[in-house]
Symmetry: D2
Subunit: 342 residues, 4 copies
């Protein structure tokens, strides 16, 4: 059975990635694509790499007939999303890829995003979209809030360790290296090829990155006590992919065993053999997340390295995985594409 | 119905690309993978990006039981391929990705490859694998010789123009920009990241590149008279993709109309609207070839720009397209993956 | 003796490159730096790579006291430059890096730039800044118009050949590969790292690129008859550097000999041995231009490949070379920096 | 006064970088260049980017007449260097760029390099080459052992903090991102452009990287007690540059103040304003090291980020800085080249 979906915000990278993945999904059909400023244009004009597909022309959101739509992917910028979703038909199921509904605590939202939440009633029903840890809730949810891509990477490395109590909760450091597509299609000098290539730098350092709101919420909930991690993201000259190097205090063998056990039956989360560490280039373009563990010459220290593609497992692939659950489809439908290497 | 295939030479880039594509192919199953020097290793050790797949361990060719294999992909280096294929069971259908069986004329082979052909009887039955132009022959062939990736790009730009007689056959220049994976996994200083990135240079210039043998053979056959083109390939800092800028003398509108008509019903060959030119990044990771045409301020000059992914449409995707024909499967099976952007 | 210079437009790439080169120039001292929108900021805030230098704070042009300035580098966008220079003190010597004064014919200017020239009297005194071919005029000039970076590359490959009459003037094709810094610091989607890396595409194809105005003017003057070339620039994922592959009809040995003889005494123009072709990565960051020649299997065809760094020999290095001439300094002062490799 | 130098191992990246820097050094002259396997070739054949220089032909070491040589740069691989230097005239001053003489403790050498030291008497006289901390010893030394490039980066971030006792010595983590030229010109699959670009991965993780030997030696000496840090290097797709993100426990303001005070009079070590973090692209190609400090929302945590060019400040620039001291020249001679951006 085919399900009709609409994609709001189809002119950004996560919108385009949804289209790329749905192109070979066995049960989803794209009924509508919106992009306010590019309404009226064919998708092939905005993303020529999709020109082989027979896609609806871009429209504004009010032009969409939601009557025949089974599920809505909302890939709009954070901030504007709350109002847009508030105006959508209340009987439609929605997978949101923005940051607008990730934080259950309205005060935390205000702290990290600098303004009050505009749709607190919707927030109340939103389910956090980290699939492997919220499956039941997601399957039953009307509104699923996709996680931050950095937040997903850090959580895959750490949640089972925090849950099992095998690491020191007060000494967790996440040093993250992120490809540039995570910054979206924004026109900024530091995202120009001439300025980004051949370099690397830290950004939003010093405990200021907004994904810390997600880490705080989720890790504290898992631990049953407040947990605050250190988090330093860096931008590297790669288009896709995140590599998180996570420093923890705990027994390396136990750390590895705990992760391996937690993910033993997960299709998309692969724990490598002890001592083997993953690489961005081995998950690029796919929905897979590779996780490795090593010890150190200093006893009681472990390093967990996790990598995923920010546009796939970190956002649009995750969104489809969640949509599959919500629509009662096999969870891996449309997501078994192998990574692209080299 | 599922067909079993073997891949000889699975530790190179084209071998790995075959596995990547077959991973989501509805009717092909990998029965055996060979790699002489890496025999005994799991494929995931050689290509960790494929670790999610349940693949046979790498073996040597003699270890393979070809009894249950329906079709063999041979992704070995040129030169050694002739002997290997000569030793394979004569009732097996083979798609070869090397250069060993592309030139029908044994003297031309010797000219371009510097030694006599080692399997002239096999050469006699080999069919040139440029799918869209040899469909009937390929469907009936036992041995199909995949084209060179540069040779495919140039031919998609030029064959219909030569056939239709709309360009000057004595003034054709192909200036080609190629990503580095076309050079394979060879350990050479000029392929190191430190030496290849941030630059560009011409190689095998001055009429010396071996793919000229294919251009000569095919263009002359199409024209019914000798045709010799100029051809300068350049290496650029990209992993995948070829962009060929082809300079011809002829009426631009006629050139465009001729290409558009020739490929009107082709799934993988897309002719862009007049004046629009393609980009490598819009076909990366896919089996599509985009072709654009523009005129010049000098009347009677046209520029045709064609782009494809050397590992997909230029070799392994083409190989699967040919295998589909040989096995009676839908030609596009397993090949509708959208390009990966960004 | 030290000469004081002002740099107008110091917040762009060519302005910053001027500062980089002057940093180790024995006789130039930077007296003023202008940048309208960033006036008031220290240069280190705009370009942190220059933070080790003791530089004047950025100001607006009216704030500059030109009384003590010996020479002005004008690195402003084309279009606005004409008015700015018209308003400068008439006794100051100026090296302009924009396109505003390159075309001696006002009608040609209007054709290529789409509006009438705003300072025809200044145009009348401007000298075209291709140093090696206009030395005497530059030394005596008040206003020197720096060449286009693509235009410089093509001319170094072709001028001696056109002057010597050793190639067919009606069959010249320049296929050019350009790094991204040539597009400046403009905020455009196609210059983002995510969209430019891992690809290549042609732009301003079909005889529409503005540097054709310079080719027409210069080649026709050298030939004594109208010469129109074909010119297709491509953008490649490199920050600096241009590689021009030039297709001509003529005897390769004669072509090589003519270029080698023409540049025998030039410090910055190096003709490689016959058959050897240059690479962007061997001139990056320097004022050198490498030129190679090869023949073809088709008699009477030659390929000339020229490469230079668009920000150095193609603009700011050229500007300093011209300033050296104008100030009576050794022409190579401050310009002997070796290329940066890898 | 001009000093003659010889460079042993001129066919590697650090050898070539020495030549690049000496090309504009006011007082050094290259008398001899050695490269065993490429002896007999001109340097321009091995490194075409140096073709504008008038350099001696490559020779084997025995062919060099050391009589007229004032100082020898030894840029050979570690392991072989000990024997080579042992065989050099004992009255010659030597700057070694290898790892062979960095560890004062012979047992530590054996631990990290897996074999006994072959020249313990030379080790006894070797001075560790981290210029800013060993100036007096270097000026008087006959044999200076250049530091590891990673080791230098980490030490610039940490030495003043350890010396001042302002951080917890038992909780230091160095997460380092390194460009690929640090791996040298070695032919390895993971250094190929196709495999290194568009990704990132950790290597020599888990307390196994050999530069830990230098960290242990130096930090323990500074602290007056054993100090062992955690160290995870990562390879990123950039040619030059190292960015070290260092996590310490201590008061951020004190950390910043301590570093700023320690380096207040250093030409090449720049401490950025509090909260500002450096970028590889702002030091590329230069001898400068930029250091930034930020705090965290968790009190008592600080992050120090240091960046330098591994080929310049991390090896060949450092070597020349040391040679300047040894020869009584101004320490900054030949090293004031501005970084190359973009």
């Amino acid at each position: 059975m085919t399900h009709s979906v609409a994609i709001l915000g189809a002119s950004g990278y996560t919108g385009a990635e949804l289209v790329r993945l749905i192109a070979t999904h066995p049960s989803l059909r794209i009924a509508a694509l919106s992009a306010d400023r590019k309404a009226g244009q064919p998708m092939a004009a905005v993303f020529p790499f999709l020109r082989h597909l027979d896609l609806p022309t871009l429209v504004t959101i009010p032009e969409i007939d939601f009557g025949t739509v089974d599920l809505i992917f909302c890939a709009l910028p954070h901030g504007t999303t709350q109002e847009v979703i508030a105006a959508l038909p209340r009987d439609k199921r929605i997978v949101d890829l923005s940051a607008d509904f990730r934080l259950r605590d309205l005060a935390a939202y205000q702290t990290w995003y600098g303004k009050p939440h505009a749709a607190p009633d919707l927030q109340a029903e939103a389910v956090y979209g980290l699939t492997e840890f919220y499956r039941t809730e997601i399957a039953a949810a009307r509104l699923v809030a996709g996680t931050g891509c950095n937040a997903a990477t850090g959580q895959y490395a750490l949640r089972p360790l925090i849950a099992a109590g095998v690491i020191d909760l007060d000494n967790i450091i996440i040093d993250l290296k992120a490809g540039v597509s995570g910054a979206g299609r924004s026109l900024k000098e530091n995202l120009l090829h001439a300025e980004l290539s051949e370099g690397a730098h830290a950004y939003s350092a010093g405990g200021t990155h907004r994904h810390l709101g997600e880490f705080d919420q989720e890790f504290s909930a898992v631990a049953g006590r407040p947990v605050r991690v250190q988090f330093t993201p860096h931008l590297i000259p790669a288009n896709r992919g995140i590599l998180a190097t996570v420093y923890v205090k705990g027994d390396p063998a136990t750390v590895h065993r705990t992760l391996a056990a937690a993910y033993a039956s997960e299709t998309f989360l692969e724990v490598l053999p002890m001592g083997e560490l993953p690489s961005i280039r081995h998950i690029r373009g796919s929905n897979f997340c590779h996780i490795g563990v090593t010890g150190d010459r200093i006893p009681g220290r472990a390093v967990v390295v996790a990598t995923l593609d920010n546009l796939t497992k970190g956002s649009s692939g995750q969104a489809i995985q969640n949509a599959n659950l919500m629509l009662g489809l096999p969870e891996t439908d449309g997501l078994m594409l192998a990574p692209v290497f080299p």
